[in-house]
């Protein structure tokens, strides 16, 4: 018996798949050619380095296929996404296996291109052309039903998102809604076509696929092919340089607009501001709505929570920074007036017996001198040989300037500080402000100098036994400053310190899920009222287990919370200093 090898209903699908594959290849070439030269070199090298290559394989399977990160975040959503994506992947794979194993085309003489074509549509419409063996038929039906169960959850999520544990969902435009409808209807029609074998359903199934493929590049579903590329680029250790080029472009297209960041964003406490979240930023930027993208980029507090919860690990904060950097400014800073101060200060800090510990309080700590006093007390009690870098005010660390996108100006200030620190001959730099800590860790080149935040420093002093503290039964709750916690994972040190001095209670959201205090220097556009709403929300979260004192490790968080907290707010250094023995 000669099997049928062609029917016109496969044409819409074939045209669609050819279009999508061509688009993806062109897009791939475009992204890679837009990478700066050294980044491209890094990328190629990462593909053959065993360590990154393994990470690539692990994440390609874990993230693209099994969607581990969504499962971790929300199991219902995890099942929904896996059912649809993994189920679909499996029926395509099984279709190909059947074509290979059952050899339905055996005995058909085809030549050249003609012999290749059935490979394209046979696995997709297998049941129309040939019969499966019972095992394959069961597997196909199983995965098809799994997909349909996933779609049912998606429909429920669309009608009432709270049932699946999502408060706010992304609002979509016409194209996104339309392609979603096409996706939802593909599989029920496939089921109908396979079970009834009516031509009309085969046609609808094929046309549905065609619509999906043609809309894919212009909608959020472009994340399906792009995520794989993004994972490879991410493991190469690249940074987005321009907001819509190269690596950033790959990230833009990898964003599935799932909206998990909307509920996570501290700004969403005010419904009006939920439009300023990363999901919308990525969407605006993808659609070249530059004005709106710029506004959102400058409103963002850069707390990094959206990056922490993102199931695709999109570094939206970095893209927002590159968007800020892309803005031209008329007036540039001139910090040459600092030359005199630096000469003076360098003489002051570089004493004969070079101090081993250099303490840099930073601008924000200058506003909260009690932290400086507490640190002085602690370092004296520990018998440390220390020196202030900015006792009567110093040069800003440069991060606030960096956050505005003025990189060159920030570097000028950073150069001044570097000069001073190197002149001091210190081997350890202790900082009280996480804002400084981040920039010192990431942007400064200080050879042979250990950079510590005071939480780490105090923890080390306690462990070395240089510091003795008494324990009382005050209930503390610790707030993780964004730039210390999410940025560097300093979660355990402060908690260990607090357990030494009192009882540590848990906040509702902790560690990488901690909520920004609302005072962040990252945002330029938020008004005081909007910031207050965020602070109130964050305080309520911290007060979940009725602590007596809110403890933080950031002078800016301290100042911000103090305005709204019903209980005392203290810096970790103050708490330790008050219980020194």
């Amino acid at each position: 018996m000669n099997p049928q090898i062609f029917h016109p209903f496969v044409l819409p699908f074939v045209i669609g798949i050819v279009f999508v594959l061509t688009y993806c290849v062109v897009g791939l070439i475009r992204v890679i050619s837009q990478l700066p030269k050294d980044d491209r070199k890094k990328f190629w090298r990462s593909l053959v380095t065993p360590k990154t290559a393994w990470a690539n394989v692990r994440d390609l399977v874990g993230d693209c296929l099994l969607h581990v990160k969504i499962w971790k975040r929300n199991p219902i959503l995890g099942y929904m996404h896996s059912a649809i994506a993994f189920g679909w992947f499996m029926i395509i794979v099984i279709g190909h296996i059947m074509l290979f194993a059952l050899k339905p085309l055996q005995g058909v003489e085809l030549e050249g291109v003609q012999s290749m074509l059935p490979n394209l549509y046979y696995p997709i419409f297998y049941k129309f052309f040939a019969t499966e063996t019972p095992v394959f038929a069961f597997l196909m039906d199983f995965f098809l039903l799994m997909i349909i169960s996933g779609i049912l959850i998606a429909v429920v999520k669309k009608i009432r998102s709270k049932i699946v544990g999502v408060k706010r969902v992304t609002k979509f435009g016409f194209a996104d809604n339309m392609i979603r409808f096409a996706l939802w209807t593909i599989f029920p029609f496939r089921l109908l076509a396979e079970k009834t074998d009516k031509m009309v359903f085969w046609w609808i199934y094929s046309i549905d696929l065609c619509i999906f493929m043609f809309m894919l590049p212009f909608t959020r579903y472009m994340h399906i092919p792009t995520e794989a590329l993004f994972i490879l680029l991410r493991h190469a250790g690249l940074k987005p340089r321009e907001p819509r080029k190269g690596y950033a472009l790959a990230q833009l297209y990898s964003c599935p607009s799932c909206g998990l960041c909307i509920d996570a964003c501290p700004m969403s406490v005010n419904d009006k501001n939920s439009g300023n979240t990363s999901a919308y930023f990525m969407k605006r930027l993808r659609n070249c709505d530059m004005e709106e993208a710029q506004r959102i980029a400058e409103t963002c507090m850069q707390c990094g929570k959206c990056v922490a919860v993102c199931p695709v690990s999109i570094e939206s904060c970095d893209i927002k920074m590159s968007q800020r950097e892309a803005v031209p400014y008329q007036i540039h800073s001139d910090h040459s007036y600092l030359d005199d101060y630096c000469k003076d200060a360098a003489r002051h800090v570089s004493t004969e017996n070079a101090s081993r510990v250099l303490y840099f309080a930073g601008c924000m700590t200058q506003l909260t001198p009690k932290i400086m006093r507490a640190m002085t007390q602690i370092m004296t009690a520990a018998g440390e040989d220390f020196e202030f870098l900015d006792k009567d005010g110093g040069v800003c660390c440069g991060r606030p300037m960096l956050l505005s996108g003025k990189t060159a100006e920030a570097q000028a200030m950073m150069a001044k500080n570097t000069e001073l620190i190197n002149a001091s001959g210190a081997t350890k730099l202790v900082l009280s402000c996480p804002i400084c800590y981040k920039v010192f860790k990431e942007e400064y080149y200080l050879e042979g100098i250990e950079i510590l935040h005071h939480t780490q420093y105090i923890d080390a002093l306690l462990k070395q036994g240089k510091l003795k503290v008494g324990k009382n039964d005050v209930n503390y709750v610790y707030h993780d400053p964004c730039e210390l916690g999410r940025a560097f994972g300093v979660y355990d040190e402060p908690r260990e310190v607090l357990e030494n001095v009192g009882n540590l209670r848990k906040a509702k959201s902790e560690k990488e899920l901690s909520i920004c205090c609302g005072g962040s220097l990252g945002s330029f556009n938020l008004t005081q009222k909007e910031r207050d709403e965020i602070t109130e929300n964050s305080v309520a979260d911290l007060m979940f287990n009725q602590p007596d004192v809110i403890v933080t490790a950031c002078p800016l968080c301290l100042k911000t919370f103090a305005r709204k907290s019903p209980v005392a707010v203290k810096d970790i250094a103050e708490v330790v200093a008050s219980q020194l023995q």
């Binding site: 803005v327 400014y329 008329q330 007036i331 540039h332 800073s333 001139d334 910090h335 007036y337 600092l338 005199d340 101060y341 601008c363 924000m364 200058q366 506003l367 009567d392 005010g393 110093g394 040069v395 800003c396 606030p400 300037m401 956050l403 505005s404 003025k406 200030m413 005072g519 220097l521 330029f524 556009n525 938020l526 008004t527 005081q528 009222k529 800016l556 100042k559």
Partner: protein
């Protein structure tokens, strides 16, 4: 009274003829500028003010008087550290205003 000559250069500002473009532009994007009470808290805490003549209160005054060039020169000293915004008793988003002036 103007005799046509004086001992020191005149600091007289003719409000009818000054150029208020920058100030008006700022007022549009940052209406809270109008609530400033010129208390000088911003200047008192200023990190850059510790080493230079930088003063946000004066920058605002200069812009209101149309002395744009002087204001733009002074603003180059700013480090954008944001302490001024933190201490402002009127809750004015000074850091944003400073950034907007340099645009």
């Amino acid at each position: 009274m103007d005799f046509g000559f004086c001992l020191s250069p005149s600091s007289h500002v003719k409000m009818d003829s000054v150029d208020l473009t920058t100030f008006n532009r700022l007022k549009e994007t940052n209406p809270d500028i109008n609530t400033c009470i010129a208390c000088g808290s911003c200047t008192a805490t200023c990190t850059a003010g510790n080493f230079s003549e930088m003063s946000f209160r004066r920058i605002l005054l200069m812009l209101q008087r149309g002395k744009e060039d002087e204001a733009k020169k002074m603003i180059q000293r700013c480090m954008l550290c944001g302490k001024c915004t933190l201490v402002c008793p009127r809750g004015i988003n000074i850091r944003k205003i400073l950034l907007d002036i340099t645009r």
